[in-house]
Assembly symmetry: C2
């Protein structure tokens, strides 16, 4: 086995998104039990000037989708950020998992040296593929999933590190 | 350039720890300005049943140190978890950076297939080196740094995504 850009991205992102689904499922159960509206949950924040749970999930999904598309060299499908409920967020995660599952290892060959440019309002970032994955994608991806987790823990949802990490290490 | 276990771990962990230092430095400034005791900051939590800022930093450091030691095949030095202030936590991060800087790429050759066993109370995890890095180390490392960030944002410390990501993409 040797390291590959595909192996360091797609399976890793898919596992993170599957764990996010687990966490969102427990959030749905919590909302049902507490009779809290799903959109109130999705609008929750850790700080008044941080984006809410819904946006944390959207950005995690977009980070994963953009990584797959840019490294594989396929079109990055635009997705509207319209989710207002936990169930809609789960659907967004599911769609992202579906997109990633269509990508093949062959499409990623050589992508470690590929020039990747990201344009944000007022700032342009330039990476080689490997740096894009390691310095931008993975830190951001885990940031938004961890923050989604933190928002739900702060609310009182019964989730733990095992939900965040998923089934690993043979257990 | 091709992917390597060293390149996918040590520089990535070092960058995350350097960004954590930036965040802790802003936390120190905040505490000074607000006349808040440093140990009160370090004891802050996102939820009553989550570990405090001090422990988030300790675990991030231990995750990075353990990764470096296990993949390089050197002794994993034991460090007591005694930090009570932000300044002591900064020192812990600095020590961890120093440990990682002593490791060389040659020590990591072949570590993607190396058997890694982690023993926790009541649970044993078994990985190949690459899975250990991708499924355990990086998700945990970013989780604890993101949670440290979330705790400080929740308190009101003036930090942003740029502090978390550091200098990347040529800017």
């Amino acid at each position: 086995m040797s390291l590959s850009m595909y192996g360091a991205s797609v399976p890793v992102l898919r596992q993170g998104l599957q764990n996010l689904q687990t966490i969102l499922t427990k959030a749905v159960e919590f909302a049902d039990n507490k009779k809290v509206a799903s959109d109130v949950m999705a609008a929750s924040r850790l700080a008044i000037d941080m984006v809410p749970l819904s946006r944390q999930v959207q950005i995690a999904c977009d980070t994963a989708k953009g990584c797959g598309a840019r490294l594989a060299g396929v079109e990055n499908p635009s997705v509207a950020d319209e989710e207002k409920t936990l169930q809609e967020l789960q659907h967004r995660v599911e769609k992202t998992l579906g997109f990633l599952s269509q990508l093949s290892p062959e499409q990623f060959v050589g992508s470690e040296d590929k020039a990747i440019q990201l344009n944000f309002p007022g700032i342009t970032l330039n990476f080689k593929g490997q740096d894009y994955l390691q310095q931008f994608v993975l830190p951001n991806f885990y940031f938004h999933i961890s923050t989604a987790y933190g928002i739900l823990r702060h609310i009182g949802v019964d989730i733990g590190k095992k939900d965040y990490l998923g089934a690993i290490g043979g257990v």
